[in-house]
Symmetry: C2
C-alpha cells in the first residue's frame, strides 16, 4: 500500500534569518508519524507571495497533504491568507463563529479591539475553517486535485491547539492505514562507531522494512529502529525482537529501551526506588534543576537545590568548609564532594549532587583549565566523583555537564560503575 506523504511548509523571514528556531515542524512530524503519514520534506520560505506560491506549486505534486504554518497574524507582514484565497480561487467572507470568538478574546483580556483584529475573522469561502481555541487567527483547510492543504498560524501553542482540536482527528479518520513502529534504545558512554561495530552483523541482517538510525548527542547515543508494514500486530513484536537483540548485545551501556531523555531515565530510577534528590549547582546555574523539573511528577523525587553561582554562596548557604576551598581550589574533587554532601544534609534528601567547574571564558579562576568540571553524588555514606574535560563553547559545555552529571547520578543510584 502506498504511504501517505506530507510536506511541511513553514513561512516566515524570521526562520530564514535565523531569528527563530523552527520547533513546529518537529512537533507536527511527531504527531503525523503514528498515523502512518510520512513527512517526506520540510521547506522553509520567506514572507513573500512569490516564495509561498512557488513552494505550493512545487510541493503539491510531492505529497498528499501539505501543512503550512506561519503568515496568518494580524499585522502587515502577513500575506498568506489572501494569497491562499486567490490560489484556491475563493473570495474573502466573514466567519461568524470566528468573529464572536475574536471579540470575546479581546474583551476577556481587557484589550482594545481594533479594526484590524476583525480581519482575523475573514476567511476564504473555499476553505473549511479550523477553529483556533486559544488565538485569533483561524486555521484553514483546502482541497485541490485530491490533495489537502492545511494552513495554521506560526505561534507554536496556537498551531498545537488547532492540530489537536481539528487536524489530527480529521487525519486519523481519513488516513490511518499501514502500520509504523518505532523502538528506541538509549545508550551512554560509548560512541557511534563503537556501537555500530558491535552490532554490525545484526544491522546488516535487518529486513528491508526495518531501518536503524544512530542519533548521537554529547555522552549519549540513541538507536532508533523504524519498521513499516501492513499489520501492526505482526510488526510490533518483530521490531521489538530486534530491539531486544541489539540491547542484549550492547549490555550495560543501555540505559533505556524507550525514547526517553536522561532526565526522564533518572526520574524513573528515583521513583522506582522511592528516593529523593537535591542539587548544588555552580557552573550549570540551575540548568539541571530546570531539566529535572520539566518532567511531570518530578516533585515526587526532586526536593530542590541551591544555585551557588558565586563562590561565597558555597560557604554561606551550603556551608562548605572554607578551608576545603582554600586548600583545593573551588573547582576540585573535594569541593564537588562537599557540595553534594552539604546539599543532601540541607535539603534532607536521600541523594545529593554537586557540580563545580569552568565552562567558558570569563569563569576562569587561574587554577584549573577551561572546560574542567568536577561532579559528585552522595548518599551520605558513600560519595562518588568524576572529573570532566569539556572542550566546546560555554553553552554546549553546560549541556554536556548536565547530561554527564545526570548520568553519574543514574549510575550511582543503580550501583553501576
Amino acid at each position: 500500500m502506498p504511504k501517505t506523504k506530507a510536506v511541511i511548509i513553514t513561512i516566515g523571514d524570521e526562520l530564514l534569518i535565523g531569528q527563530t528556531i523552527d520547533t513546529n515542524s518537529a512537533w507536527i512530524a511527531k504527531q503525523l508519524n503514528p498515523l502512518g503519514i510520512d513527512v517526506v520534506r520540510r521547506v522553509a520560505v520567506g514572507d513573500t507571495e512569490d516564495a509561498i506560491r512557488y513552494a505550493l506549486d512545487e510541493e503539491l505534486p510531492k505529497a498528499d497533504i501539505i501543512l503550512l504554518t506561519g503568515g496568518l497574524g494580524p499585522t502587515a507582514d502577513d500575506i498568506t491568507k489572501p494569497l491562499l484565497c486567490e490560489y484556491f480561487g475563493g473570495k474573502m467572507i466573514v466567519d461568524e463563529r470566528v468573529r464572536t470568538h475574536v471579540t470575546d478574546m479581546f474583551q476577556r483580556r481587557n484589550r482594545p479591539f481594533l479594526e484590524r483584529n476583525l480581519k482575523q475573522a475573514e476567511v476564504p469561502d473555499v476553505c473549511t475553517v479550523l477553529f483556533n481555541r486559544i488565538g485569533t487567527a483561524p486555521g484553514m483547510l483546502f482541497h485541490k486535485d485530491g490533495k489537502i492543504v492545511i494552513s495554521m498560524p506560526g505561534v507554536p501553542f496556537e498551531m498545537v491547539a488547532i492540530m489537536e482540536d481539528e487536524v489530527l482527528p480529521l487525519l486519523k479518520a481519513k488516513y490511518i492505514s499501514d502500520a509504523i513502529v518505532h523502538k528506541t534504545i538509549v545508550t551512554i558512554g560509548e560512541g557511534e562507531s563503537f556501537i555500530a561495530e558491535k552490532i554490525e552483523d545484526i544491522e546488516t541482517a535487518l529486513p528491508k522494512h526495518i531501518k536503524l538510525a544512530y542519533l548521537p548527542s554529547p555522552g549519549l547515543v540513541k538507536l532508533r529502529l523504524t519498521g513499516h508494514g501492513d499489520d501492526k500486530a505482526v510488526l510490533e513484536p518483530e521490531v521489538a525482537r530486534y530491539q531486544d537483540k541489539i540491547a542484549e548485545r550492547l549490555g550495560n551501556i543501555v540505559v533505556a529501551k524507550e525514547d526517553l531523555t536522561i532526565e526522564e531515565i533518572l526520574g524513573l530510577s528515583l521513583k522506582q526506588k522511592g528516593k529523593t534528590l537535591a542539587l548544588a549547582e555552580s557552573c550549570t546555574g540551575g540548568y539541571i534543576s530546570h531539566l529535572i523539573t520539566q518532567i511531570p511528577g518530578a516533585s515526587e523525587y526532586f526536593k530542590g537545590g541551591v544555585v551557588s553561582y558565586l563562590n561565597a554562596i558555597k560557604t554561606s548557604v551550603l556551608h562548605v568548609d572554607a578551608a576545603i576551598i582554600e586548600a583545593h581550589g573551588v573547582v576540585s574533587e573535594q569541593v564537588a564532594s562537599a557540595m553534594a554532601q552539604q546539599v543532601r544534609n540541607l535539603l534532607k534528601s536521600d541523594y545529593g549532587f554537586g557540580v563545580t567547574g569552568i565552562l567558558g571564558p570569563g569563569m576562569e579562576d587561574g587554577k584549573v583549565s577551561l572546560g574542567t568540571v568536577w561532579i559528585a553524588v552522595s548518599d551520605g555514606n558513600e560519595t562518588t566523583t568524576k572529573q570532566l574535560k569539556l572542550f566546546y563553547d560555554r553553552i554546549r559545555n553546560k549541556e554536556s555537564a548536565a547530561t554527564l552529571g545526570m548520568m553519574l547520578m543514574w549510575k550511582f543510584i543503580n550501583h553501576i560503575s
Copy 2:
C-alpha cells in the same frame, strides 16, 4: 546588484519524524546574514539517495550557494558522501591530513580505533576538504556551474566549528558585497495588533527597501526592521532613523533597541547599576537561574539562588515563616514576597526575587487554580508583587512565568510601574 542567495538542505530522517529539532539552519542563517547572503529557502529531506539527489537538482538553480548538513557520520545510515562523490563526478581518495587527525582523536580519547573510522578520512577527489577540528567527519566543498555546494556533518558543534574555521572566512572573502542592516526594538506588555495600530502610519510610509516584521512571544513582541542597499554608510543611519521613530512612538513599552533577550536586558540593567540579584524559585524549578547564567559575565550581578521545589524547602532553607504559608497558602502574594525577601537576606544580594505557582497538572494544591503564579521582587525596603494567570501547558507556562518574572525585575530595578 543581485543578492547572493543560499539554500540550506538538512539531511536526516530524525528531522522528518520530529526526533530532532533543527537548530543548525537558524545558526547558519544568522552567520550568512551579515555577509549579505540571503537564505531564500530551507529544505529538510530524509536519509535516502533519491531524496538528497532530488533536493540538489531542485535547489541548485535557485541559489548561488547550497549548504548541506547531516548524513556524514561513520555509521551505515550515512549515505551522503558517496552520493556527493558520484553527483560531482569524482572518486574516493584518502585525505592524509584527515587520516592523521582521526587517528589522533581516537588515541587522545582512549577509544578503540575501528576500520570504519578510517572511512571518515576518505573524500571525493573533486572536493576541497573543510577541516573538522573537533570531529571525525570532514566537511567538503564542491563547485558546479559557478555555484558552491558545501557539505558538513549534522552534529551541531562540529558544523559550527567547520563554518567558523573554514566556510565563513571563505564566503566573506568571496561574497561580501551589498549591505544589509537589521534593527530591532523589543517591547513588553502589549500585543502585536496594538503595536501595529499605533505605528500604522510609520509602517505604511516605510520605503520599499526597508521591511518591518513582528515577532511575538509570550509577554514580549520584537519589531525587526531590515534594510537592503548598496552602501552601508547610507543605509545604517536610514534604518536607525525609522527605528528611533517607532521607538519614540511606542514610548515606555520599549525595553531595548537591540536584538536582546529579556535575560540580557535584565543583566544589562543590573550591570549598569552595579547591583546584584538572587532568586528563590519554586514552580520554575531553576529555569530563571539557568537563563540568567546563559549570559557571559552573569557572575558580575547574579549571586545564585534556591530552588525550593518542595514546599518544605521554603521554610527549612529559605526560612519563610511557616505561619505565612499556613495562613495564605503556598501560592500566595505573601509567600512570593517572603521568598524574595528571604533569598535576598540569605544570599546578601541587592535584589531578591521569588516565584511560587501551579504551572501544570500534578502541581495543584487545591487552593488556587491551575496557572496561578505569584511573583515578587524586593530591594529590602520595598517589595513589589504580581499575580499571573497562565493558560497554556506546563512547559509553556514555565517559559511565560520566567519571562514575566524577569520583566517584573527589570521594571522594579528601573523604577517603571
